[in-house]
Amino acid sequence: MEVEAAKLIGAGLATIGVAGAGVGIGTIFGQYVAGGFRNPSASSKQFGNVLLGFALTEAVALYALVVAFLILYGF
């Protein structure tokens, strides 16, 4: 197999890792909404934590993207 073809396949496969971040971010915001239904007065204090959790989970998706870019353009 040519290197170019292998690079394209590798980059495509590396993007599958972004799915985990989708699950994670959905979990964070889902728990925030569910907690808001149970205890509405406490939900505004937790919003900072929600944003922090979102950013940290998004970072994992971007690590997968970085690997895909590395395979595509680095080697």
Binding site: L51, L52, F54, A55, L56, E58, A59, L62, Y63, L65, V66
Partner: protein, 244 residues
């Protein structure tokens, strides 16, 4: 401007003034130019905004006070009273990353923090600073952060290498998070902008999506600066208080 074919072309470094100091290339690049613009903007906002020191703040002074209070609250909540010494450092880090991220949102500009070397410098400064601080404060007992309290002793040979690896991956994760967020966001903007031009009249659909993406990117620019500052505070707290 019509020669930019690839969405990754916006990240190339262009030299504005060529400068050579003893064989080392220290030219003034577009990256350095945007860093200077960022510093000038920060300086003028903070200094001119709060110059009159009104008791009831006007709009600019209010903005300065809100920014100050946001970072001060973060430092206070995460480090406690000892954090006051580190507030200038955290504030400088936060406001510089925020303005560099924000300047990159302007079309045809350059995002300083999208280059891994810039964010790696920030992350290495934080990591080396926190580690050296930990060693100065606690001496060789600093190594006990790798063994959390209340762990049964037979788990220790498994847990300590994991803790060491996760500690050493902090600068990597800190730098890659910021750089990859900036690069991915701006690449996506350029790709959708290409669609708008290519579709002609039906380009209204990707244009509306582009508006939504710009809103997301503005949020991400602020959020990534905030997350960098919060994580720096958490690492400082780990090194100073060492309940870990």
């Amino acid at each position: 401007m019509t020669e930019n074919h690839s969405p990754l072309e916006q990240f190339t470094i262009k030299r504005i003034f060529d400068l050579n100091l003893g064989g080392i290339d220290v030219s003034f690049t577009n990256s350095a130019a945007f860093m200077m613009v960022s510093i000038i903007l920060i300086g003028s906002l903070m200094i001119l905004g709060a110059r009159k020191k009104l008791l009831i703040p006007n709009r600019w002074q209010n903005l300065v006070e809100i920014t100050y209070e946001l970072v001060a609250k973060t430092v206070r909540d995460n480090i406690g009273d000892e954090g006051k010494k580190f507030f200038p450092f955290i504030f400088s880090l936060f406001i510089f990353i925020l303005f560099c991220n924000g300047l990159g949102l302007i079309p045809y500009s350059f995002t300083v923090t999208s280059h891994i070397i810039v964010t790696f410098t920030f992350a290495t400064l934080v990591f080396v600073g926190v580690t050296v601080l930990g060693f100065f404060r606690h001496g060789l007992k600093f190594f006990s952060i790798f063994l959390p309290p209340g762990v049964p002793i037979f788990l220790a040979p498994l847990l300590i290498p994991i803790e060491i690896i996760s500690y050493l991956s902090r600068p990597v994760s800190l730098s890659v998070r910021l750089a990859a967020n900036m690069m991915a966001g701006h690449t996506m903007i350029k790709v959708f902008a290409g669609f708008v031009v290519a579709l002609g009249l039906y380009g209204i659909a990707p244009l509306l999506f582009l508006v939504a993406i710009y809103a997301l990117e503005t949020l991400i620019a602020f959020l990534q600066a905030y997350v960098f500052a919060v994580l720096t505070c958490l690492y400082l707290n780990d090194a100073i208080h060492m309940q870990h």
